[in-house]
Symmetry: C2
Subunit: 140 residues, 2 copies
C-alpha cells in the first residue's frame, strides 16, 4: 500500500496525473448527469433535482458542493446553478462522448445490454451462480 491500509482514492498519492482526479470526480453518482442537465443553461436547485430523476437533495447538494469546490459551477442568486467557464469547457470535452453514445445505442450492444443497473446485490458476488468457491467458514 501507499500510505495505510486504505488508499485515498485519488488525490496525488501515486498518480499525480490530473486525469485520475477527474476520472474519480466524474465517477461519482449523478456527477456526469448534473453536468449534462446544466447544458441548456442555469437551473435552480429543485428544477435540477427533478431532471435528475429526483435525486436526494442530500446527494445533490453534496455533488453541487463538490462541483462548486472544483469551480465547475456557481450559484447565481437569480438564476440558480450555472456552469462556469471551466464547467462549460468540461461539458464540451464531453461532446465526443455524446456522439459515441448514439452510435453505441444504435448497435446491438447498446440495446439494453448491461445497463440493467446494479440494483439487487450488485456489489459482491451476489449473483445466483453457485459455481466457484464455497467458503466453509473457518475461525480467524
Amino acid at each position: 500500500m501507499v500510505e495505510g491500509s486504505r488508499t485515498p482514492r485519488v488525490r496525488g498519492s501515486r498518480s499525480v496525473r490530473p486525469i485520475m482526479a477527474v476520472l474519480d470526480l466524474l465517477g461519482r453518482r449523478w456527477m456526469l448527469r448534473i453536468l449534462w442537465e446544466l447544458r441548456d443553461g442555469p437551473l435552480p436547485f429543485r428544477a435540477l433535482r427533478d431532471r435528475c430523476d429526483a435525486v436526494s437533495p442530500s446527494v445533490l447538494n453534496t455533488r453541487l458542493r463538490e462541483m462548486r469546490g472544483a469551480a465547475l459551477l456557481e450559484l447565481h442568486a437569480d438564476a440558480g446553478y450555472a456552469l462556469t467557464r471551466e464547467g462549460e469547457a468540461l461539458l464540451s470535452a464531453l461532446q465526443p462522448l455524446h456522439a459515441w453514445a448514439r452510435r453505441w445505442a444504435a448497435s446491438d450492444a447498446g440495446r439494453v445490454a448491461a445497463l440493467s443497473a446494479p440494483r439487487p446485490g450488485a456489489a459482491a458476488g451476489a449473483a445466483s451462480r453457485p459455481r466457484g468457491a464455497r467458503r466453509p467458514r473457518r475461525s480467524p
Copy 2:
C-alpha cells in the same frame, strides 16, 4: 413521479436518449478508471485490479461483467481483459476529457479543490454546520 415511487435509474423511461444511459453507466465507481487503465493494452484480472488502487475483486468483477455486457471489453484467455472496438472508440471519445483535465489541474481550481473525496459522511448534510434546519424530532 413517472412510473412509481422510484425511478429506474436510466433505461428508456422518460429519456430514450442513449447519452443518459452512458452517463449512468460511466457514473459507476471505477468504471471510467478501468476503461482508462486498459488504454495501453490488455490486462489480466489481478494486474488490472492492482492498477485500480486494489479495488475489491467483487466490484471489479461486477464492473467487468457490466462492461462485457455492454460489449466494451472481452476476456481473452491468453492476454486477459481487452477493449473491443467499441471500447476503444469510447476511450477515444474520452481523450478531450484528458486534455481538459490537464488545463484544469493547472489552474487554481484544480488544485485539490473538491477532490477531498466523499469519505466521512459525504452523502447527507453531515457537515458540521448547524445552521439551517433543526428537526425537533416528531412522531410519524
